[in-house]
Symmetry: C2
Subunit: 469 residues, 2 copies
């Protein structure tokens, strides 16, 4: 306690040991100046010694001026005693001098400056006012029931999905859903089938576990599932509404074929509906879940519609997977914190979510127009857009070009952060002519300047081989 370790058989008296120990801590700065020391009664109890012993020790500190005491007030540490800075030995970091990033085209980044924080704070305050002592207890791995109900209503409003709240399980974001699903759906000798390119989240978990992987190539309509027909597959992971990162929309024939195949070969489909909320043109795309809810695990998240550090997502689970999910979640981290779940319930119930998303859809649609116009202005017809109908990023194809490591380095040195599609691919030689431009978090000026900077760099790198206007 308070850095004091007593040795009862020591020749030095207990009082002196306490004195020496506290003095040392004060000198080393582990106890700061002005800090109030525990009462003699409390410290005596904590150390298992008599109160007189502690009084003696405090007297020694007082006498030597380490602590200051005023009638009736608790003793506190005197000022200006800290002599030795505790040495923090951090490994020498050899960071190369690099220019700051001026234009950051990273993907999946919402504009958090527009999040209605005062409104959210109000929901949090209300939640703190309504929580009961019972809600401070564990409530189990399924999640806050009223939240599951509101999510079911929300899925009907936003996605025309007819979901039973009993099948909805709250998660710490989509990341946790994928992690748990890899453990739950793994079958020995069977592979997880992933799109190539795809998000590294689920792929990394599968690889960390040493499970088999089967890649499905992606064209402008999403994954080509023909390559998994003759394979042993436990799970197929797809992003059908807006393929990540190429943006294709999985057409109905492929959806139906995938569901038939799942039924035939007895596998599950993980449907990652990661940014279906932000759609700017064309009609909404129904989730595969609506075609066959018994074969599909639907995964959604509020990281992009609200904010990432909220850590709330959800999954809609077929009945046969629910017992296993509860078991694994229980021994993983039990459940989400309760407070944000209560606040989010209210946010959905009051339709604040609907309003926020409507607002953000308009904002992102404008940013997208700025981006597309800037790109067309600079690159003319040397560039083709992939997946520009929805989401928070667009993939750009520059036919005939290859974006390798040197190009990326040049970008970085010019203050541009941009990702090549090839980094999400199974084999690095796929989609080498494509770049990803995330724009959700950028201002119009940043977008225009960033595109111009990118144009100059590409023009220089292509050494005249591309025809720009």
């Amino acid at each position: 306690m308070w850095g004091i370790e007593l040795q009862k058989r020591n020749k030095i008296s207990l009082a002196r040991q306490i004195f020496l120990s506290l003095k040392q801590s004060i000198l080393m700065g582990q106890i700061s100046q002005g800090e109030v020391l525990p009462s003699t009664r409390e410290l005596a109890k904590g150390l298992g010694v008599s109160r007189n012993t502690v009084c003696d020790a405090y007297d020694m500190l007082l006498t030597e001026g380490f602590i200051v005491s005023r009638q009736g007030a608790p003793s506190h540490v005197a000022e200006g005693l800290h002599i030795t800075q505790k040495e923090v030995v951090s490994p020498k970091e050899h960071k190369r001098e690099r220019p700051p990033i001026r234009w950051d085209f990273k993907t999946g980044q919402p504009d958090l400056s527009l999040f209605p924080w005062p409104l959210w704070s109000q929901m949090i305050r209300r939640a703190t006012n309504t929580l009961s002592a019972q809600q401070l207890e564990y409530s189990g791995p399924k999640g806050y029931e009223p939240l599951c109900e509101e999510i079911a209503h929300w899925l009907m409003r936003s996605r025309s999905m007819d979901v039973n709240p009993e099948d909805i399980f709250i998660t710490s974001g989509a990341t946790q859903a994928f992690h748990l699903l890899v453990d739950i759906l793994h079958k020995e000798g069977h592979a997880f089938a992933l799109e190539s390119p795809s998000h590294p989240g689920i792929r990394t978990v599968i690889q960390d576990r040493g499970h088999l992987l089967q890649w499905m190539p992606v064209d402008q309509q999403g994954a080509d599932i023909s390559c998994i027909r003759d394979k042993d597959i436990s799970t197929v992971y797809v992003t059908p509404s807006h393929q990540f990162p190429l943006g294709g929309i999985f057409p109905a024939t492929r959806r139906a074929a995938l569901i038939r195949l799942a039924s035939e070969k007895d596998f599950y489909i993980i449907e990652d509906d990661y940014d279906s909320e932000f759609r700017y043109s064309g009609a909404p795309v129904s989730p595969i879940y609506s075609m066959d809810s018994s074969r599909v695990v639907y995964v959604g998240t509020f990281s992009k519609t609200l904010f990432p550090s909220l850590r709330i997502g959800f999954t809609v689970l077929p009945k046969p997977l629910q017992a296993k999910w509860k078991h694994y979640r229980n021994f993983m981290d039990v459940q989400n914190p309760v407070l944000e779940q209560v606040a989010l319930t209210e946010f959905l119930r009051k339709r604040k979510m609907d309003k926020h998303i409507q607002h953000m859809r308009r904002v992102y649609a404008e940013k997208r127009n700025v981006l597309l116009n800037a790109i067309e202005h600079s690159f003319s017809n040397a560039v083709q857009f992939w997946g520009d109908a929805s989401g928070l990023h667009v993939a750009l194809q520059f036919p005939g070009m290859e974006f390798g490591k040197q190009f990326m380095l040049n970008c970085r040195n010019a203050g541009i952060r941009i990702q090549p599609v090839s980094q999400y691919c199974s084999v690095q030689d796929n989609h080498k002519d494509k770049l990803l431009t995330g724009y959700g978090h950028l201002s119009d000026t940043q977008i225009r300047e960033g595109v111009q900077a990118l144009f100059e760099l590409i023009a220089k790198n292509s050494s005249g081989s591309l025809e720009f206007k």
Copy 2:
């Protein structure tokens, strides 16, 4: 018409209703592949809606690939869409009628009615007022830095531990720490050594992963480590300050021997310091971490000192494990929500934690006295106490008795929930004469009545073979 029934007052638009209905009919095979759809004019007339509405519906079908259209030709249904919907039969649940639980002696249960909720709400409100847009972003798997610093100070004040905040990693409770540590510390062909009896948390994760387990028997001083000397061990998990559930305090000689062995055989020690804050008698026990921080992973939680649904714990990690930890946490759930971390930082900085724990220690000490007195009053010297110096539960030994399934069933039918120690053991025939009585959450009356009810049941079951006064 075409199986379409429109509800004009529905929230879903008419176009979307038409689309959903046609899609359903196509999937169910009620409209066959290749079939020509009615012209937009015809269907609009038939349904009594505008032609634009039908055009919109057809556009949605076209976008999702349900129909195919060629210039000038009528739209027809795409091929290969028919799937068969599988019927979901949910298993009937047969719940047996049971009397309500009147006396619940479950362990590890804090008294949440005494949690200073208004104070905590204030901290949450302040946190909502200070959070910046940047803090809504991901901040990475380590946790909120100011919180790590406050936890370091807190560990010095409460446990005399000298910890560098750089080595502290925030977790979603101790449960998540154990889950991650099993993945990080596993070595092929090496076992995890656990105390028997021990908490099922880490054991379940090890067993789910199919890793090897080595049990260490527990006596009144905690684990006996002699059995692991000649084994290949990757990790030893111990609860040295208050063995769970028997309450023994690991003596200094065993601690030193364990650390020497860890060094010799190159394994890590997980130190679960789960309720060291509530100690009622005797000198404080220093954590093993303080003896050799390079070999020990220290795990702490705020579930018992604050409340379980807060979901904040932490671990102090040796440097060589930190990169792997960050990687695994990143792909598990990224991080804790930010709001509670900011609030807890303030709660620690303002010494509200110290005050709350002081208060609760007094409360629990009184409850413990009530429990010990009630047991002595009823059972006289037929019972021996294990681990009554700290924590939120006491283990009771009834020499010569055996608490089996039938006894537990009798308890349950008498409205008593109580756990036998044997359920935490590697082999069920160990510690069969011991029961666990958690008391932190019970009122004095509940404790007295519960002990009386337990006495009556045991007296009946022991059929006079035990000598009570």
